[in-house]
């Protein structure tokens, strides 16, 4: 199972832990396929206490990974949520046992389209079954079983990570003491599906994509994937932030070039975002994970009434949104809050003033840290979790 790894996977698996699951009991996917065995690559920080009551699961977003708080072995950059996780930070490994898994369908060590089909031994590529947010969550739950973690003190995630948080709370409520879905929605909107479709079409229109079998042909749809990333990256920012950062400033020149080079700084910036992304992410994986987000519709899975997803929920919720996020606007968080209120669940909701758009949840946002700290303090007091002040 560990053969035919990409360089990125090999580097990742050398720096994190992994478990091979589903050998006896395969994972029944929403599409009806039984997947097994499958590998989950994950990272942990801190230790599980004797009562097994201090576990926190962090769920990463679309292009995130398991390296929350240590150097990413592929990019060499620091962990994507190092501002939040680490000694002396809000999520301190001295207090909590923190787990983050690379999602099912991912490309940094967990089974996805890069892996070989156990039947036949050929790479899955586009023959990999389409996975859902629910499948990702069930795979995470199987890993927790494997690790002997009965339930989670808290589960936290932004964007697609927030979708996983909601799915956990809805489908495994008895295993979720508290939940923090940040900058997310209970279903992917038409506009968001539309943006994902542009990205997927860019990948599939790249002649190097070869119907998904580019590795067999030793090519890579780098241009298509870069365009997909450029489009998506715009949706992570805000008009205000783009204007503040770039305006109409020119790139390394004093006058317009009357051509199609990157005249403007914003063009150069986007090209850079696109080209660095292809070095760290797999195109097929991008297709699968965007699809999982598109398929997410928690109300749809509960008779069209979102509140039904949370009836009798014992979980304490804290939702956060950002004022300038137009990908997952505050309105969508508020709908979740209304549904939680209708289910008489314990819920807090904070909208944070920021001009940084959707990306704000990954950035240094003191109000987000304060909110999370306060929420965890309150939850820990109710849970009787010691060592917290």
């Amino acid at each position: 199972m560990l053969q035919d790894l990409t360089d990125a996977e090999r580097k990742a698996l050398a720096q994190c832990r992994h478990a091979v699951l589903g050998e006896e009991r395969p994972l029944r996917l929403d599409c009806g396929v039984d997947l097994g065995p499958y590998r989950i690559a994950y990272q942990t920080y801190g230790t599980l206490n004797a009562e097994k009551s201090n576990a926190i699961l962090i769920c990463h977003a679309l292009t995130g990974d398991q390296f929350v708080a240590d150097r990413n072995p592929v990019t060499g950059k620091e962990g994507w949520w190092e501002s939040l996780v680490g000694p002396g930070k809000v999520l301190d490994p001295a207090r909590y046992f923190i787990i983050c898994t690379n999602v099912l369908g991912g490309c940094l060590g967990t089974t996805g389209p890069l892996a070989n089909d156990p039947k036949g031994g050929q790479p899955w590529n586009l023959r990999f079954p389409v996975v859902t947010i629910g499948d990702m969550v069930r795979a995470q739950a199987a890993l927790l079983d494997h690790l002997g973690v009965p339930d989670l003190f808290c589960i936290i995630g932004g964007s697609m990570g927030g979708m996983q948080v909601l799915e956990w709370a809805a489908s495994l409520p008895e295993r979720v003491f508290s939940a923090v879905p940040i900058a997310c929605a209970a279903r992917h909107s038409a506009q968001n599906i539309a943006f994902h479709e542009v990205g997927r079409q860019a990948i599939m229109a790249d002649p190097e994509w070869k119907g998904g079998d580019y590795r067999l042909h030793q090519t890579a749809p780098a241009r298509g994937l870069a365009v997909a990333r450029m489009t998506a990256h715009i949706t992570y920012l805000s008009e205000q932030a783009l204007q503040r950062k770039f305006g109409r400033a020119l790139q390394n020149r004093n006058a317009l070039g009357f051509g199609f080079d990157a005249d403007f700084q914003v063009e150069s910036y986007l090209r850079h975002q696109g080209s660095t992304f292809v070095d760290r992410f797999d195109a097929n994986s991008y297709l699968y994970i965007t699809r999982a987000m598109d398929y997410f519709d928690l109300a749809g899975a509960h008779g069209g009434v979102l509140a039904n997803a949370f009836r009798g929920s014992p979980t304490r919720f804290c939702l956060m949104s950002f004022t300038s996020d137009w990908l997952f606007p505050t309105r969508e968080s508020r709908e979740i809050v209304q549904a939680l209120n209708a289910a008489a669940a314990n819920v807090s909701f904070v909208e944070i003033e920021s001009d940084k758009g959707h990306d704000a949840f990954l950035l240094d946002e003191p109000e987000m840290f304060r909110t999370l700290q306060g929420f965890l303090k309150g939850a820990a007091a109710v849970r009787g979790l010691g060592g917290l002040s």
């Binding site: 209120n341 209708a342 314990n346 909701f349 904070v350 700290q373 306060g374 007091a381």
Partner: protein, 201 residues
């Protein structure tokens, strides 16, 4: 040691049985919520109009959402709480009658405090000053007040009667925030504010 909270909030807190469920509508900085959670083991939630107030509450570990008493109580199911509390906010709602009805749908009991517009200081200022009254419990000018539905203690009792709502307790406070014990006619003159506990009939 128990913290000092505003006198009317303390009276409300004293009305709430320990280990119950309560929703504080217009919870402000969360001082009543924190008291109920920490000293009465109440499963207490809050709703607050100002986002800054909400953020401060949540950062203190309280369960609070941003919301408007006029529009957002309808999200909650019937009998979700033992008490729904509305402190010094009824007079600022657009439809006090609807809000009271919603409170008594969502909660088995409603606790409401409000300033008395028939307090003698208000009467004197109107009668002899000829100007819109400004007092300690009504500190605003006519043009910047959020209070759009002021009432007297007797007005409130009348509304409860019309709505078929039982008054379980009524505490009237004088201008020094001390409870006074007087017949209703006098209480409506010497009471600066009142705290009512209501129940559906």
């Amino acid at each position: 040691m128990k913290p000092q909270i505003r006198v009317d909030l303390q009276l409300i807190a004293d009305m709430v049985e320990p280990a119950t469920r309560a929703l504080d509508v217009g919870c402000g900085d969360g001082s009543l919520l924190a008291y109920l959670v920490n000293f009465k083991r109440v499963d207490a939630r809050g709703m607050e109009l100002s986002q800054a107030g909400v953020n401060a509450c949540v950062a203190n570990g309280l369960s609070v959402v941003q919301g408007d008493a006029d529009t957002d109580l309808r999200d909650y199911p019937d009998n979700a709480f033992d008490y729904v509390i509305l402190g010094q906010t009824l007079q600022a709602t657009r439809e006090p009658r609807v809000v009271l009805r919603q409170m008594l749908r969502v909660g088995r009991r409603a606790i409401v405090s409000f300033p008395n517009f028939a307090h003698w200081q208000v009467r004197l200022r109107m009668m002899f000053g000829g100007r819109m009254p400004q007092t300690t419990s009504l500190p605003y000018k006519w043009y910047d007040t959020p209070n759009i539905h002021l009432c007297s203690i007797d007005d409130f009792r009348a509304l409860c009667g019309e709505m078929g709502v039982s008054i379980e307790r009524a505490i009237v406070l004088n201008s020094k925030s001390r409870p006074i014990h007087m017949p209703p006619l006098l209480a409506n003159v010497f009471g600066e504010q009142a705290v009512f506990m209501l129940r559906r009939d």
